[in-house]
Subunit: 347 residues, 2 copies
Amino acid sequence: MGRKALLDVLGNRMPERRPIWFMRQAGRYLPEYRELRRQAGSFLDLCYSPKLASQVTMQPIDRYDLDAAILFSDILVVPQAMGVGLRFAEGEGPILDVVADMEAVARLKPVRDARQVAAVCETVSRTRQGLPGHVALIGFCGAPWTVASYMIEGGSSEERLKARLAAHRRPSWYDALMDRLIEASCDYLSAQVMAGAEVLQIFDSWAGDLTGDVFEDSVIGPIRTIVDELRLRHPSVPVIVFARGAGSKHGRVAAETGAQAVGIEQAVELASVLKAVPEHCAVQGNLDPVALLAGGERLARRVENVIREVPLHRHVFNLGHGIKPATDPAHVAEAIAAVRAADTRRP
Amino acid sequence: MGRKALLDVLGNRMPERRPIWFMRQAGRYLPEYRELRRQAGSFLDLCYSPKLASQVTMQPIDRYDLDAAILFSDILVVPQAMGVGLRFAEGEGPILDVVADMEAVARLKPVRDARQVAAVCETVSRTRQGLPGHVALIGFCGAPWTVASYMIEGGSSEERLKARLAAHRRPSWYDALMDRLIEASCDYLSAQVMAGAEVLQIFDSWAGDLTGDVFEDSVIGPIRTIVDELRLRHPSVPVIVFARGAGSKHGRVAAETGAQAVGIEQAVELASVLKAVPEHCAVQGNLDPVALLAGGERLARRVENVIREVPLHRHVFNLGHGIKPATDPAHVAEAIAAVRAADTRRP
């Protein structure tokens, strides 16, 4: 099996089988990940060790019958590469220098020559060398809005109100920050492609924070600019846009960003999106991560219900959000088997 | 103006104007609320003082040109009335006795004779007496799933995973708990109607946690049972169902629960729901609370954009979620003025 099912679906061709990958498939629910994490020291040490990070990226590929590996990294690599102080406090999430005025924005550096980007690219190229022929390698970054929200808040925040207010009011530093993040994202993703990434995913985890023209300005607009620029630099590399929480707006995200696929959160049924998405665009998702966590005999039925909503050639099977860390690794194997079995039974 | 615009829209009649109310319109953003809250002592003391709670309910009516007052209370009145220990820790949210096994469920009491219910009903009847003729009084409760999630978790929880797992796996104590909550909700809402509530809203704040058949079992099913029972007891009292986060499933919520209106979170555009909702059902929402918080010249435009999506006779203007406590009360007046102005300009 040398053809890559993920590339086929993203290229609008009939795949040999339904491509499957899982958000956070390399992560805490895997005992082999927890073991490597212990060896590495901090989370960031793990991200920036090409040897260990590529091992982590490969762990789910070694264990499961998947169609894609996704680079093990973090969306906050970009602000760190721009010179923003970043650390992960145990059990508290990321803590960043606050970037919420023009002085702080002016201090941001281009990412092109950052050692963090070099380390990530080495992880990409090491991983690519070890991948089975049918498995595609996905590179990624956070979308400008989501990354900006961490920079403006100085870390995680339940409601991100400071960032959301900035997106509504658009002070000049906010627009400047978004411009810098667009540029950095293009350079970062482009570097990943040159290192061997075959598909790119842009994660806008907090897209659901924004609505109306604010959604257009801070979600759709910046992502479209990135996708356009990548198309110029790397015409054959498909892009998946995951604007999590876009609700009724995924069709517009697909049509207006020019993505080859859109990721869909589990609150939105894939069938409802399919009608609004251009013919050439696939949908990705969207099994409920809690269905995967719960397991049991209902899991196969839940998988089948997702599959039934989308034809094979327009679907990338995935979750609607990341794997919960408490998930039993056996459930992942069961979900994959359920996808394969359901597709085999199809006429 | 003696006709109630809210009752007209919910009764499928052309209203004299577009009815407006705001979720959490009686609350922390109002200085007069913060003043009464100081006098009352604890939050629960305020909820259970009919004199003060009816004053709080009236505060936004005195200040703004609204079409409905909503009872000032809390969705956790029901578990407390069932005998579950409840307190609000300052800055921490509610803390409840955990109800997550059959023994705890068996200890739950009917709410009919609870002093908490009597106090709430006295608030309703006091408020009703003081209301201007064109303002409808809304009573409410939390939906079984949302209330159960607090009981199972013992309070607020970021992800509600214990509750969501129970909804997926449906141990017998979970089904028994949901049955008890359905019964208690019917009795509680019915008591509010007898005390003077003219409209009822069922808040399923965490409906977005659930998907697929789990959504049907724990969101749609229990709410439908409550709406059916209320229809028998009080045929003329309309019910608004707010299944927050239902995403692409609001049409089904409307059709299958028999609600007179469905509330829509701001991530979902009203126009997209309207197509899927039965003709006799209205939609409620869904200005972004952060647009209201941000204010400024964009606010009127945002209000107009919401209004443009729905014809007058099928729309209850509201937010997509509660008012943020930091909102300037002047912004609320501006939003109301923008609704009235936009409707006047319509042909």
